[in-house]
Amino acid sequence: MKSSSKTIAAGAAMLGLVAAAWPVAAHHSTTMFDREKFIVLEGTVKELHWTNPHVAIFVENAAAKPGIPDGMWVVELTSPGNLVRSGWTRTLIKPGEKVTVEVHQLRDGSKGGGLRKITLASTGQSFNYNIRDQERPNLEGTEYK
């Protein structure tokens, strides 16, 4: 796979930004995730980072498939505030839970991506979010239970 690091560095330089790859944080566009398709991870939640501006779920993927390596993956979501308004709570997904996760993978093929949907093996419940669905006034909101 062609590395995109040189292109990114060139782009950052053109933008007049510091090209150092670390540490820059977090408030970002999501087009580094391939939204045209998704992959499926099956495994165990190791950590949940309920932090701004993007929550992250660390999943140990046990189901290695072609192009989908096993091991630890990091799956990013929107902010805690936007998730709460979508019905999430910080205890909705707990470390240790068995899950199936649909992920828009990073375009460079590495073990990260954006969440499409997460399903708990214990209950069969699925969770996702779409902040563009909230474009109406006086929403009542419903918490996931």
Partner: protein
């Protein structure tokens, strides 16, 4: 005779001068923000009801990338074209990954987060979720802009009410703040920017923010755009603390068992570096 008169006059002026030196000039009184009186608080009740939490119409932000592009200068247009191509290619330019405030006018233009507006005597305060420092102070007490204000992320804003419309004029905005059209495409204003806004309720629970952005270093003429926000009253929509820099870190324990933050790596685009 004339010579004698001149001598007397010069003598008098000299004495006056000595007198002036002997008594130091009165110290000018500081300009204060007077304590509000009951009427000031009562007058707030006559203003339109802007309470609640306001979330943005993101799909309209997206649409205006195609329908209402700012009138960029040629270099700015090239810059934006490059950024949009990078974003489409999956390499979003890291405009806000440094977690500095989205600032003006990008906050109003491309935020994905909520805001609230507070009225107090002589001032409207806008508080936004995320950034940790997303705050605008709009003085409505009749003061002018300072003669030489220090540039800031949100500039110096003065406002007045025209009926139920808040009219705001903002200057002294840092030249680095972005005229952003998405989270990955934006042009630094490069200085001398002025923003005029008219904020009002288009419908009972729909707020319009009309902006006129004049930025002579990067725009060929004033750019007009309207951004839309929806009112939410359910407590589920209450604004929560949003400290952007929190994303630099992960919660962990030190060797003493104390709860601490530990820095974690991120990719250029701002996402967490995936595990190897």
């Amino acid at each position: 005779m004339n010579k004698l008169l001149s001598t007397v006059l010069v003598g008098c002026l000299a004495l006056t001068g000595i007198e002036a030196l002997a008594q130091p000039a009165a110290k000018p009184k500081p300009v204060i923000n007077p304590p509000p009186v009951a009427k000031d608080w009562a007058d707030l009740a006559k203003l339109p009801d802007w309470s609640g939490v306001w979330n943005p119409k993101i799909t309209d932000q997206d649409a205006q990338i195609k329908t209402n592009m700012p009138p960029w200068t040629l270099p700015a247009a090239e810059y934006i074209k490059f950024q949009l191509a990078e974003e489409r290619a999956g390499r979003p330019p890291p405009l806000f990954t440094n977690c500095l405030p989205e600032a003006m006018p990008a906050w109003m233009l491309v935020t994905h987060n909520s805001m609230e507006l507070l009225f107090t005597p002589g001032r409207v305060t806008m508080l936004g979720e995320s950034d940790g420092a997303r705050l605008r102070r709009i003085y409505t007490d009749g003061r002018p802009h300072p003669e030489d204000p220090d540039p800031t992320f949100h500039g110096h804003s003065i406002g007045h009410w025209e009926g139920e419309t808040l009219v705001i004029d903002t200057v002294a905005i840092l030249p680095q703040t972005l005229i952003a059209i998405s989270e990955a495409a934006g042009q630094p204003n490069n200085g001398d920017m002025q923003i005029k806004e008219r904020i009002y309720l288009k419908e009972k629970d729909i707020m319009h923010v009309e902006l006129e952005i004049t930025a002579p270093k990067v725009l060929t003429k004033t750019w007009k755009t309207t951004r839309i926000f929806f009112r939410q009253r359910a407590r589920l929509y209450d604004i929560v603390e949003g400290v952007c820099q929190e994303g630099y870190f992960r919660p962990d324990k030190d060797k003493h068992g104390n709860d601490i933050f530990v820095a974690i790596p991120h990719a250029v685009g701002g996402n967490r570096e995936p595990p190897k």
